[in-house]
Symmetry: C2
C-alpha cells in the first residue's frame, strides 16, 4: 500500500496510526502542503484526490481511497485484527461518534484552506486567526471531555482498554492543540488518554516529527 | 426510537432519510436551533448532547447516539435491509468517502455556529458570509462532481442503482445550496442524482418543509 501523506496533516496522522496498529507496511509518499504553494494542488495529485487533500490510500491493487474516516473503516474491514471498533452496535456507535466529534467538528474547521481563507479573503489578523483555531478545539474538547468523564465505557482509552478509532482521531488533535498553545488543564481524561496512547509504538511511529518529510 | 431533530438541520435531514429508507418509525422531538437563542443550548438538551447539536437518536432502550454519521452506521448495522452501504470493502470505502466529502468538509464549515462566529466575533458582513457559505459548497461539489463523472461505479445514484449513505449526505447539502442560491450548472451528475432521490418517498418525507416544526 502507498500512503499519500504529509507529516503535519492530522488526517494523515490518523491513518498512519491505524496502519501501525494493524501492522500494515506502507510506502510513504510525501505531498508537501506548503512548499511551492502546495503540492496537493498539482494536476498530478488532483487526479488522485480531486479535493487536493491528504491522505489518500493506494491499495495493493492500485485503487485510491480518499478521506481518512473512509480509509480507517476500510482498514478495519480488510484487516479486522486488532479491532479498532468494539463489538456491539451501540458501542461501535459510541466510538464512531467520539471520532466524528473530532473528525467532523474540529479538524475541518481548522484545516489549512480555512485558515488561508480567513487571512486572504476575510483579512483576519494573526491573533484572531489563532483565537479561531483554539476556540473550535476548546468547543470540541469541552464536549468530548464531558462525554468521556460521564460514561463508564471510558477506560484506559476512549473506549475500554484497547485503542479505537476514537483515540486515532483524538491524539492528532491533541498534537494540534499543543502546537497552538491550547490550555489543557480542563481536560484530564483527554490528557490521560493522550499520554497512554503515546506510550505505544504504533502511535509513537506516527508522530509528525518522526515522518520522513518532517522539517 | 426518538429523533432530536430540527427541520432545517441538514445533519438531522440525513438521519430522517435513513430512517425512512429503512422503514423505521420514530418520534420527532423538535430542538429549535434559533428560537430563544437556541433550544440546543438548554441544560436539558446539553445533558443529551454535550455538543448542543442535532441530531441525537434515542434508541428503544433509551441510549443516546449523537453525530449523524455514527447514527447512520448504527442504523445500517441494526437494520441491515435495505442496505445503505454496498458489499465489498472497496465499494463501501467509495460510498463512505463520498459521504465524508459532504459531512466532514462542507457541512461543518457552514453550520450555524460557524456563521454566528463569523458575524459576532469576526464582524463579517452579510455578503461576505454568503460568499463563505457558497465557496465551501462549490469547493465540495467541484470535487464530488469530478469523482462522480469519472467513475463507472456511479449509477442512477451516487453508487450504483440504489440509494446509499452518499446520497443521504448529498441531498441535504443540495437543499442548502439551493437555499443559498448556489449556481448548480457545473454539477450535472449531482443535479441528476438529487432529482432521482427526490422522487422517492423516503427522501420526500424527510424534506425540511415537510417536518412538524417547519415554519
Amino acid at each position: 500500500m502507498k500512503l499519500y501523506d504529509y507529516w503535519r496533516s492530522s488526517a494523515a496522522y490518523r491513518v498512519r496510526i491505524a496502519l501501525n496498529l494493524k501492522g500494515l507496511a506502507y510506502e510513504h509518499i510525501s505531498v508537501h502542503l506548503v512548499k511551492n504553494g502546495g503540492q496537493q494542488h498539482s494536476e498530478g495529485y488532483k487526479d488522485i484526490n480531486p479535493q487536493s487533500f491528504v491522505p489518500s490510500l493506494e491499495t495493493g491493487e492500485g485503487d485510491i481511497i480518499p478521506q481518512s474516516l473512509a480509509i480507517l473503516e476500510y482498514l478495519e474491514e480488510t484487516t479486522p485484527t486488532p479491532a479498532l471498533l468494539p463489538t456491539g452496535a451501540l458501542a461501535r456507535a459510541r466510538v464512531r461518534s467520539l471520532a466524528d466529534m473530532i473528525a467532523c467538528d474540529v479538524h475541518p474547521v481548522n484545516n489549512l484552506r480555512i485558515l488561508q481563507y480567513l487571512v486572504t479573503e476575510l483579512k483576519v489578523e494573526d491573533e484572531a486567526k489563532m483565537q479561531w483555531y483554539r476556540h473550535w478545539i476548546y468547543k470540541g474538547f469541552d464536549a468530548l471531555e464531558t462525554r468521556l468523564s460521564n460514561d463508564k465505557a471510558t477506560g484506559t482509552f476512549c473506549h475500554g482498554d484497547t485503542p479505537s478509532l476514537a483515540d486515532i482521531c483524538l491524539i492528532p488533535q491533541v498534537y494540534n492543540a499543543h502546537r497552538f498553545n491550547c490550555t489543557m488543564s480542563a481536560y484530564p481524561n483527554i490528557t490521560r488518554i493522550n499520554n497512554t496512547c503515546l506510550e505505544l509504538n504504533a502511535f509513537k511511529k506516527a508522530i509528525p516529527e518522526n515522518q520522513p518529510d518532517a522539517v
